[in-house]
Structures are given as structure tokens and as C-alpha cells.
Symmetry: C2
Subunit: 380 residues, 2 copies
């Protein structure tokens, strides 16, 4: 098997079981649960080189490398994590974790509820970013990691990294939040709500208990993903990639695919609806809606972030209209007001929100330089 230079190579997920109940923000508790993880690199003797990578809406623990039986399924942040890459697995022990409620192996709505011996479905509790971080802290305990060298994520992943600094200030040395925000805007919530409405109003949704009906609300998932994709790309990027390019030389005067952008969206929607769980889509978008650390401090982000002791790198992309640079700057300013150390890079990139996943030399150089400094701190 050939790997890209810097690939972590063939990897395998592990499932970690937690038998103690986990109390949730909602007041509910989950009796016991599993998290699926992957690790790359080697934990050093004093366990000081561990980096946690948090995923966003549709990603998973599979951050880097490939599976032996699925060589095309490259990890979602493989350009970022690997030997010699910005998050260098020759220096760091990197952990990818699938969050509670997701659909890639960790306990979620598709899992069997031990109480009923049927899939949780609609009865799976609503979870929050804070709940995920609490579960990730239990994972850190199992792995023997008292303090992360860094917690890193993009978008919703960045929110988890930020929440780590508030919930467990002594257990995180560095927070790297890329293309993130301190809370969703009304417009962000609105897009989530439309996607959820598409899913919940699909007759195959059956109130979330579609597993029992052997159906999948594919139509709703497809629409949800199409909406998502529009918000992940910038208008400029869509203009550049697709413009008004057509499938045929001239208009066909029908509602099938006329424009390449339609083909792209349909393809993305169809693909997504084949593998993503609809209840997970609801759950994760709701966690996004709810994230608002300043909610408990009367809207005061400076006060909300006050407990943080980590150092920070924030990165934002100029054409990201989902979480524009102004949203990252809100965090930067609240950190500065708290006298915290914060580096901030605003990358002039054309690819909108998706830029956090893409190869961009300037972006990757910033992250690499930051992690090189973390490595030096660890070695010192």
C-alpha cells in the first residue's frame, strides 16, 4: 500500500467503554456508553505530548491515515496530522474521538438502549458541547492523560476546544480553535432549523424511530446536507468552481440537472444520506445551537472565559460567512481582556468555511509553527 508522504499509514479504531453514568447538561444521564477513538504517534513517558482532535458535524475519530480494508477512506484531517505534518505525530500522541451521540461507533441514537433493548432513536438524550467535553475528560482519564498538550478543532470542534479551557482549565495547555465562534448567530441557528425541519418532516423519519420501521429519512438528510454545503462554501468559491456552467450546451427546460452546481449539491446530498444518521444530525446541530459559554454569565464572554488558563491559537478565514473572522475576534478580544496569551491568524482564503479542512500553505504554516512551539515547551 502506498501512502502519501507524511501519512500515519494504516490505522484501526478502538472502542472504549465507560460504565459509570454520565450526567448531562439537560439533567438526564446516560447509563453507560462507548467512545470510538483512534490514536497516532506515541505517548511519551510523562504523558505530556497528547493532543485531542475534536470533530465537527459530520466527521469522526478517523482523523488521519487509512483503514486496511478501506484504503480510500483517508482521515478527515489527514493533511494536518501525520509525521512531519503541522500536527506532527513524530512528536505528538494524537487522539481522535467520535463524540457521544454521533454515528460512527460511539454510543448514539442508533445504539441499543440497554433499558429497552431497542435502538435509542428519539429517546437518546440531547447532549451539549459541555457534555462532550465531560465525556472526553473521562476518556483522558482512561488514557492516563492528566493534561492535554493541546485540544484542537475546527468549527464545532473549535467550540469543544474552547469549552475545555473553561470546563477543565488545568487539563489543557493549548487551545487551537479554527473557523469557530463563541456561539451561533440567529442566521446560523436558522440554517440548522431548516435542515432539522427537512429531516423531521420526512415521512420516513417516524418521529426519530425510523430504525424500527426499517426506513431512513433520506430525502430530509439530502436537503439538510445540500443546505449545509451552501454554507460551507463561499459565494466566490462557488462562482469559481461552478459559475453558471451547464450540463448540456443549452437549457433543457426541465427541473433535472441543468447547472453543474446542481449536480454537485445532489451528489453531496445523496452521498451523505447513505451514511449519516438523521438523529445524529438533529443532535449535533442542536449542540451547536446551544453552545454559548457566556449564557451563564449574562452574555459576558470575558467573564465566561475568565477561568481559562490555556494559551490559544485562533484561525479564521476571510471568506467564511458561516463563522466569519469577526466571530473568532470576539474570542480573541475576550481572551485579551482576561490577559491570556492568544495568537490569531486571519487567512485570506477563497474557500469559505471549508477552508479549515483544505490545504492552504499559510494556514498550515501557522499551525505548524504553533505546534513546533508546543513541542519545544514539552522538550524544555
Amino acid at each position: 500500500m502506498n501512502f502519501n508522504p507524511g501519512s500515519v499509514g494504516v490505522v484501526a479504531p478502538q472502542s472504549i467503554r465507560f460504565d459509570a453514568p454520565l450526567g448531562l447538561s439537560s439533567g438526564a444521564a446516560i447509563a453507560g456508553y462507548s467512545l470510538t477513538i483512534e490514536t497516532y504517534g506515541t505517548l511519551n513517558a510523562d504523558r505530556s505530548n497528547a493532543v485531542l482532535i475534536c470533530h465537527a458535524l459530520n466527521a469522526s475519530h478517523h482523523v488521519a491515515g487509512v483503514y486496511a480494508d478501506e484504503p480510500a477512506e483517508v482521515g478527515w484531517w489527514d493533511n494536518m496530522v501525520g509525521p512531519g505534518k503541522p500536527v506532527d505525530t513524530d512528536h505528538f500522541f494524537v487522539v481522535g474521538v467520535n463524540n457521544l451521540g454521533s454515528c460512527f461507533g460511539s454510543t448514539g441514537p442508533m445504539s441499543i438502549d440497554p433499558g429497552t433493548e431497542r435502538p435509542y432513536g428519539a429517546s437518546f438524550p440531547v447532549v451539549t458541547v459541555e457534555d462532550w467535553v465531560n465525556a472526553q475528560a473521562q476518556l483522558a482519564d482512561v488514557l492516563g492523560i492528566t493534561r492535554w498538550a493541546a485540544v484542537m478543532g475546527g468549527s464545532l470542534g473549535g467550540m469543544q476546544a474552547l469549552s475545555w479551557t473553561i470546563q477543565y482549565p488545568d487539563r489543557i495547555a493549548h487551545c487551537i480553535a479554527v473557523a469557530s465562534a463563541p456561539k451561533l448567530s440567529a442566521q446560523n441557528i436558522a440554517f440548522n432549523e431548516v435542515a432539522r425541519t427537512a429531516i423531521r418532516s420526512d415521512p420516513d423519519f417516524h418521529g426519530g424511530n425510523y430504525y424500527a420501521h426499517a426506513t431512513v429519512p433520506r430525502r430530509g438528510l439530502r436537503v439538510a446536507r445540500m443546505i449545509g454545503h451552501i454554507t460551507y462554501l463561499s459565494g466566490e468559491d462557488m462562482a469559481e468552481k461552478f459559475g453558471r456552467a451547464m450540463r448540456e450546451a443549452d437549457y433543457q427546460f426541465h427541473y433535472e440537472i441543468e447547472f453543474e452546481v446542481e449536480r454537485y449539491l445532489r451528489y453531496q446530498g445523496d452521498k451523505f444520506s447513505e451514511y449519516f444518521d438523521a438523529n445524529t444530525y438533529l443532535l449535533i446541530t442542536r449542540a451547536l445551537d446551544y453552545f454559548d459559554p457566556a449564557k451563564s454569565t449574562g452574555g459576558d464572554l470575558v467573564a465566561a472565559i475568565a477561568p481559562a488558563r490555556a494559551k490559544f491559537l485562533l484561525v479564521a478565514f476571510t471568506t467564511d460567512w458561516r463563522f466569519p473572522p469577526a466571530r473568532s475576534r470576539e474570542i480573541v478580544e475576550a481572551l485579551i481582556d482576561n490577559g491570556r496569551e492568544v495568537a490569531y491568524a486571519e487567512i485570506d482564503a477563497p474557500h469559505g468555511h471549508d477552508a479549515f479542512l483544505l490545504d492552504d500553505m499559510r494556514y498550515h504554516r501557522v499551525v505548524r509553527a504553533y505546534f513546533d512551539n508546543i513541542a519545544r515547551e514539552i522538550d524544555a
Copy 2:
């Protein structure tokens, strides 16, 4: 009955029948059709004071005033059209027309196909902005209007006004296009495609022949309208109107309404799905997609607009991210390159695309001043 100052008062629609077949851009023809119209003010003796108002996606011929039996149903541009208003019905004879394929009285997918004696449904031909303008020209013939003093519209309505100047350069003296664009961007098309997918994948759509099944694809229409509303408002406006305001004092941890913005979108979606025809939604969004006068000139808008002889007023709104000012400026520049007279106002308004429908003193003063000049030209 009390009217707002400047209201045209109680109005009544009329239906105008056209028996001659209308050839369409697609190559198809419609055997005969009706257009529903309203008129306000009085046509002067030399028929030189007629103004045509063109509607966008979900509006109609009901531009101003109220119906005797529906006093709450005020026309969609009532703040613009009436005695003493920017388009002053004391001076102008104003015509509102429901376009071919729409669902407010003119012949459209809900109408009975004389060939089958059943509703057209999916068999209603795809129509274009150019087809609408051709039908409007037939209407002008019936009304005895050789040349419009002005054709005016916002958004898609502005596209019709622009198309008049190209298709019938001798029959339009002034073109007023507000919050418009010379063609859709890839992102614009993408939003339309998601809305259409929501409608077409609703099981109640039945391939467009839902009338025969006594169903309405309400779920799809609801999602389509919710998406639309997000694009009509600016992010700033949504933040101002809703922010993260919640229905209850604290999170309820469910997928029902938590945030006021969710309530707003659901309300708008529900209301729309009660009155709007799904096939019309497809047809009008497709007409939007297809509009591109420069398509026949190899993408050269300057060449496409060269036939125009009208004078122009273009208005755009700073926070309109659906058709931002840059899109209006493309038209302005193409007109300048053709040596045409063009006035352009860029209004610093917070309300996004919807601003074209709202009261805004600066916007209305620009339109009023422009129409005052038209009135002087007519009187001269």
C-alpha cells in the same frame, strides 16, 4: 373602511384572456391563457402615463390597495404605489400583472389544460423571464399601451424590467430595477435547487400531479420558504430581530421551538405552504435560474444590453446578500458602456434583500424623485 393616507383604496382584479397561442423560449407554445391584473389611477388621453409593476417569486398583480372582502390583504407594494406615493397614482396609470405560471389567477400549473380537461400540473411548460415579458407585451396591446412610461420591479421583477429594455426597446421609456441582478450566481442557483429538491422529494408532490391526488407538498413548500426567508434577510437584521432570544427562560433540550428565529421561520413556512402552489415555486425559481440576457452574447452584458433605449434607475441595498450592490453595478457599468442614461442609488439599509419591499425614506425619496421626473417628461 379606513385607508392609510395615500392608499388606492378598494381595488378589484380583472382577468384578461388571450386566445392566440404564445410561443415560449423552450420551443413549446401555450394554446391560450389568461392574465390577472389590477390597475390604479387613470390612463391619460395619449396613453403615455402607464407604469407596469412586475412581481418577484411569491407576489402577484395585487400591488396596492385592498379587496372589499379582504381588508387585511394590502397589496405587496402598497407603500410604493398610491396617491402621493413614490409611484403616484394621481399622475400614473399603474398596472400590476400576475405572471404566466403563477398561482394567483393567471394561467398556470393549477389551471385546467383544455387539451386534457385536467390541471396542467407537471405538464405546464417551463417559462422564462422573456416569455413573461412577451405575455406582458400582449397585455400592453390589449390595454392600448404602445409604450410604458416605466416598467418597474424588485428582484426578479427588476429582471423583467431589464428584459423589457432589451426585448422591446421602443416600448419602454424608463426601467426601474431594484435589488436585482443581470443573472443568478452559482450560490443563488444552489439555494433554488435546495428549495426545489425539498418540494420535489416530498411524497405528496407526486411528480407535480398532486392535484389529482388531492394532496399538497406542504412539507417541501415549508422548507423551501424557510430557506428563502434566510436569504431575504441580512445576517445583521436577523441578529437584530431575533438574536438568540428564546421562547422559554432556559433550554428545554428538545427539537421543538427553542429560539424565536425558529418560531419565525416555522410560521413563515407554514403560512406559505397554505397558499402557494408548489409547481409555481419550481417554475418561478427556474425562470430565475435561466435569466441571463448575456447568454446569447457569449457572456458579454454590454453587448446584451446594447439594444436598450430606455433610461434607467437601479437601486441596491448594502446588506442584500442575495443580490448585493455589486450585481446592480454590473448592470450600471454595462449601461454606461453603452452610453445609456442611468441613475444608481446604493441604499445603506440593514434589511437585506427584503429592503426593496420595506419603508425606507432614502430609498423611497430616490424613487419618488425619479418618477417626478418621468411625470415632468410626460407633461412636457
